[in-house]
């Protein structure tokens, strides 16, 4: 395990409606993609082996670091396939309520970000070659990847210099959610966050130190 810096160059805007992307969860997603694993069920605890160092149950990897350069608004649209319902609907399909319920059409605004220099960077302690290999399975970042947002043009994974608190602290500020008693913490806010992947399991959240 060596200190590594991971840099993604993206070719398009990225949708990040929640928090920044954690390298550990990205690598777990890569394992799931590589092995064609089915979707996880509710409270079904599965942990994949990823090539990152761990301390106190927390992966030693930062969240994705980036600067915003420009914003853009787009919409998520969903329409009930009415023409197909008329053509292929069975005799029982007599009415479709498109103003409420499951068939309701919607158009929801969302924001995308253009990253400064089109780059997102992570720091971690891990196995450089295996991380590089796993990241070759990741071609898109953020949400709405299915429609081309966050397309990765290039991954650069290289060994880097360490600093005090590497890779989860820089100048006493956390680069990822950390327990409040993490040594070296100086400047931080307290927020309820999840400490280990999958980060969408909000029922596991607890007070954490964040930047």
């Amino acid at each position: 395990m060596v200190p590594i810096a991971v840099r993604a160059t993206v070719a398009s805007a990225v949708a990040l409606p929640g928090y920044a992307i954690a390298l550990d969860s990205l690598l777990m997603a890569a394992v799931a993609t590589r092995d064609d694993l089915p979707p996880l069920g509710f409270r079904e605890k599965v942990e994949f082996a990823i090539p990152l160092a761990k301390e106190r149950g927390i992966y030693l990897a930062s969240l994705g670091l980036f600067e915003h350069e420009a914003y853009e608004r787009r919409f998520l649209t969903k329409r009930f396939p009415l023409a197909e319902a008329q053509a292929f609907g069975d005799a029982k399909l007599k009415r479709v309520n498109m103003s409420a319920g499951l068939c309701k059409n919607y158009r929801i605004p969302m924001e995308t970000i253009h990253l400064h220099n089109d780059a997102m960077t992570w720091f971690a302690i891990g196995d450089l070659d295996v991380v590089r290999d796993l990241l070759s399975w990741v071609h898109y970042l953020g949400k709405k990847r299915s429609v081309g947002l966050g397309r990765v043009q290039q991954w650069v994974v290289e060994e880097c210099e360490q600093w005090d608190g590497f890779p989860v602290l820089r100048d006493g500020r956390p680069l990822r959610p950390l327990p409040l008693d993490w040594p070296g913490l100086k400047e931080y806010r307290v927020e309820r966050r999840v400490l280990s992947p999958p980060y969408w399991e909000r029922w596991r959240d607890e007070p954490c130190a964040v930047s």
């Binding site: 070719a11 398009s12 805007a13 993609t33 590589r34 064609d36 089915p38 979707p39 996880l40 069920g41 509710f42 409270r43 079904e44 420009a70 853009e72 787009r74 998520l76 649209t77 969903k78 329409r79 009930f80 396939p81 197909e84 319902a85 053509a87 292929f88 609907g89 069975d90 005799a91 029982k92 399909l93 479709v96 499951l102 068939c103 253009h114 089109d118 070759s136 399975w137 071609h139 898109y140 990847r145 299915s146 429609v147 081309g148 947002l149 397309r151």
Partner: protein, 329 residues
Amino acid sequence: MHEQIRFDFILEALTPIAHASESIGNTSLCMREKRRLPDGSFAHVPIITGDTLRHGLREAAAYATLDAAGMLDAPSLGEAALRLLFAGGMITGSESGGVKLDDFRRMVALCPHLGLLGGCAQNRAIPGKVQVDAADLICQETAHRMPEWVTEYLRENGVALQSCRGHIEEVQRVRMDPTLDPGKRKLLTDGGVSVEQRLLSSEHGKEVGDAVLAQDSKSSMLPRRHETVIAGSLFYWSVCATLHSELELDTFRTMVGAFLRDARVGGKRATGHGRIRPVVAKQITVQRPREAPENLDAGALAPRIGSLFYSHVSERKAEVEAFLRSVDA
């Protein structure tokens, strides 16, 4: 099998494309997205969104599945099946949170395209394995972002690049008011008397400067304007999939091929807008970047391939029908 495959295309607009983002007054604006220019500034460049193209793929795959299962001729789909096949389904909230893996595997086995495109079924969002990029207009503002083979194609074929503004045309259409035609007014039950009175009061309103009267009795002629991307414009489009079996590969090819055989995007399709065709296609196996891109015959993508997909679904015809009858999506 573990493969990530990307199909790259140059698409050509055969007819103007009326792919709107929003309307201001009675003018609808063309769909644009920010693209960074080499000097670091941004330009709003016309695109065909990934959502539109992905929906096209989903629709093409759904029709191919229904065709293979022999369900195109007899209307037999319920609301949930329609939602699942053509719109990716909805979280219905009817079951507890667990995904029944057997059900999931059965669904993917019966409708292989659902495994690729994902959707909501059994109360769970299933992630897809296909990423569909937006199609970027090939123009001065995007030239620096194009892959080398696209630049080479443009050079070889002497394609001159214009600014994206040159590709946009603003046109006006009018929905006529049939009551303005005296011949058609004669078809009314009262012989057109009421309409003539209305037109007279409208004229009177204008003469005396009564805006309310003129407005209330004005004709229903509806002029509206819209921006289109002109016919002949070229787009660069890319679609990428992570594939784990020969069946998935064949389904992916069938889906893309079936879509591109008669692809239409955007609005006003009923009045000669939105037809696109592939001009050049490349297949790139992403995991082996050193390999040279392999040329694809885009026009023949679907007819030659798809045999595995079609035989797989048609062998399970009865099961597919039963599944679509009972699915909760």
